[in-house]
């Protein structure tokens, strides 16, 4: 098990994950062994219709021991969409790395995360 060498990857497959944001921290990406995830976009939409809600998104590069924020308690207005990360600021997540999301209200926010899985197994 090692950090994939991007020159030697055997496959590159796209991925998109989506779901509702809750008030509990949830690891929405947990990178498997021999894999790297390239995250191209993180989009958060407020679907509540009337209330603003905040979102925090963080990553861990030590298998969950510490998390560092991409965005912290950023207000997403009702009926608005926030592009937290796009191709101008894409990031790689290595094996065992985590991407976590939490909101200020249950189900007021929804996320869509898209990118590629690079595999050198």
């Amino acid at each position: 098990m090692a950090t994939p060498n991007l020159v030697n990857v055997t496959s590159i497959t796209p991925f998109t994950i989506a779901g509702a944001v809750t008030t509990s921290n949830v690891d929405i990406i947990d990178v498997a062994a021999d894999k790297t995830r390239k995250v191209n976009s993180i989009i958060v939409s407020n679907v509540d219709g009337s209330s603003s809600a905040t979102v925090s998104i963080s990553v861990s590069v030590d298998n969950g021991s510490n998390y560092y924020h991409l965005a912290k308690t950023v207000a997403v207005p009702a009926d608005a969409t926030l592009v937290v990360l796009d191709k101008n600021s894409q990031i790689y997540l290595d094996e065992t790395d985590l991407l976590r999301i939490v909101g200020s209200a249950n189900n007021d926010l929804e996320y869509v995360v898209s990118g590629e899985i690079l595999d050198d197994a």
Partner: protein, 411 residues
């Protein structure tokens, strides 16, 4: 990603609005919640745009309505109870009061209206500042959307309304301040129509038996305190051969808009031993009215009026003597809602006015502070007016009853 071509994205932002006018609501908190509508932001925004918006104070929490200083609002019916007219102030952002100016928050209308203050942000009362209306109000209610920090003073002391026939007549009225329920173990908190009872007419004083005024009763169920009764003095330290006799007037009951006014004092040294009307102090006037006048013939002495709106007429042996009048004011009604955190080391109060000499003091008002966030702010006080001294011997006027002062958590 969706992009807007040829259009400034500022059109996707809209400011909030204020909707005053005649209101009919179930409770006072609901009125506040409907008084202002938050603005909105729609569309798709990237982090760079968000950063610039926040930097320019132009993100969602900044989309408030324009500030509107003290002005007439409309009429108010709360839980089917007519609470007369209200004035309002709306502040569309944080407010840090370092130099209080009455006109920024209150109109000069007296007795006939309540004052509503909506702060769509944080409110800070700096040390040394006192947030108090210059004129009497039916009640003052403050809604803070953010945090409230009180290092100075928020006060309705001596600002209870005169809603008696001599002021702006209005019946005692139950004030529904929040939806029924239990808040910090207090069931269905509200301001009752009637508060504590006034101190009764004093025992008749004669010979050397001076009589202190009876104290007003406290109210701990949301209401105001009753006014203290007037004292009766015949010179208890004088020669027993003097035959004076007199009686102090009763304090008035507290109401939903005012602590009770105090009763008038009475003194007499040498009358023939029968209790005449001119040796009797008048009662404090119900519904936050005037303090009771002192007896009109305080032979060889002077007698003090009770505290109220205005203070009761004082008398000297030759006739009316304004220097013996009761103090002006009764405890007022103050309600505060804090959506955020409540902090500070200042004071929040609605106290009654102290009593001069034989005059009864006025009752304390009532203060309720609802806190949704954390609460480490000042504990409120609604003490009744104290006896300030200078009475004839033992004929001190009664103190005002304390009104309710409480902090309640809500969600």
């Amino acid at each position: 990603m969706v992009r807007l071509i040829g259009k400034n994205k500022s059109v996707l932002k809209s400011a909030g609005s204020v909707s005053a006018g005649n209101k009919s609501v179930s409770d006072l908190l609901t009125l506040f919640e409907g008084l202002a509508t938050a603005g909105s932001i729609t569309g798709v925004w990237n982090m760079n745009e968000l950063y610039n918006s926040v930097l320019n104070s132009d993100w969602i929490d900044d989309q408030t309505a324009s500030t509107a200083r003290a002005q007439s609002g409309g009429t108010m019916t709360v839980n089917s109870v007519d609470l007369q007219s209200y004035d309002y102030t709306y502040i569309g952002g944080n407010e840090n009061i370092t130099s209080f100016s009455n006109g920024n928050y209150f109109t000069s209308t007296e007795d006939s209206r309540s004052a509503l203050i909506y702060v769509d942000g944080d409110l800070t009362i700096a040390s040394g500042q006192t947030f108090i209306p210059s004129n009497r109000k039916l009640f003052t209610a403050i809604y803070v959307k953010g945090n409230l920090d009180v290092d100075g003073t928020i006060s309705m002391s001596s600002r209870g309304a005169n809603h008696s026939p001599s002021g702006s007549p209005h019946p005692n009225s139950r004030i529904q301040i929040i939806a029924d329920g239990t808040y910090s173990s207090v069931p269905n908190p509200h301001i009752p129509a009637g508060g504590g009872s006034g101190g009764a007419v004093s025992t008749q004083a004669y010979s050397q038996s001076d009589q202190a005024g009876n104290d007003g009763a406290a109210n701990t169920a949301g209401g105001t305190g009753g006014g203290g009764g007037g004292g009766a003095g015949v010179g208890g330290n004088n020669n027993s051969s003097y035959s004076g006799t007199c009686k102090g007037g009763a304090g008035a009951q507290g109401t939903s808009f005012s602590g009770g006014p105090g009763g008038g004092g009475a003194t007499d040294l040498t009358s023939p031993g029968t209790l005449n009307a001119d040796r009797t102090g008048s009662n404090g006037v119900d519904k936050g009215g005037a303090g009771g006048a002192a007896c009109t013939q305080p032979s060889h002495y002077h007698a003090h009026g009770g505290s109220g709106n205005p203070g009761g007429q004082g008398h000297g042996a030759p006739g009316a003597d304004p220097s013996q009048n009761g103090n002006a004011g009764t405890g007022g009604v103050l309600i505060i809602y804090v959506e955020g955190n409540y902090t500070g080391s200042g004071d929040v109060e609605a106290k009654g006015a102290g009593g001069n000499g034989e005059g009864g003091a006025s009752g304390g008002g009532t203060v309720t502070i609802f806190v949704k966030g954390t609460d480490s702010g000042p504990t409120p006080s609604a003490a009744g007016g104290a006896a300030l001294g200078s009475a004839i011997d033992g004929a001190t006027g009664g103190v005002g009853g304390a009104g309710t002062a409480r902090k309640l958590a809500y969600t």
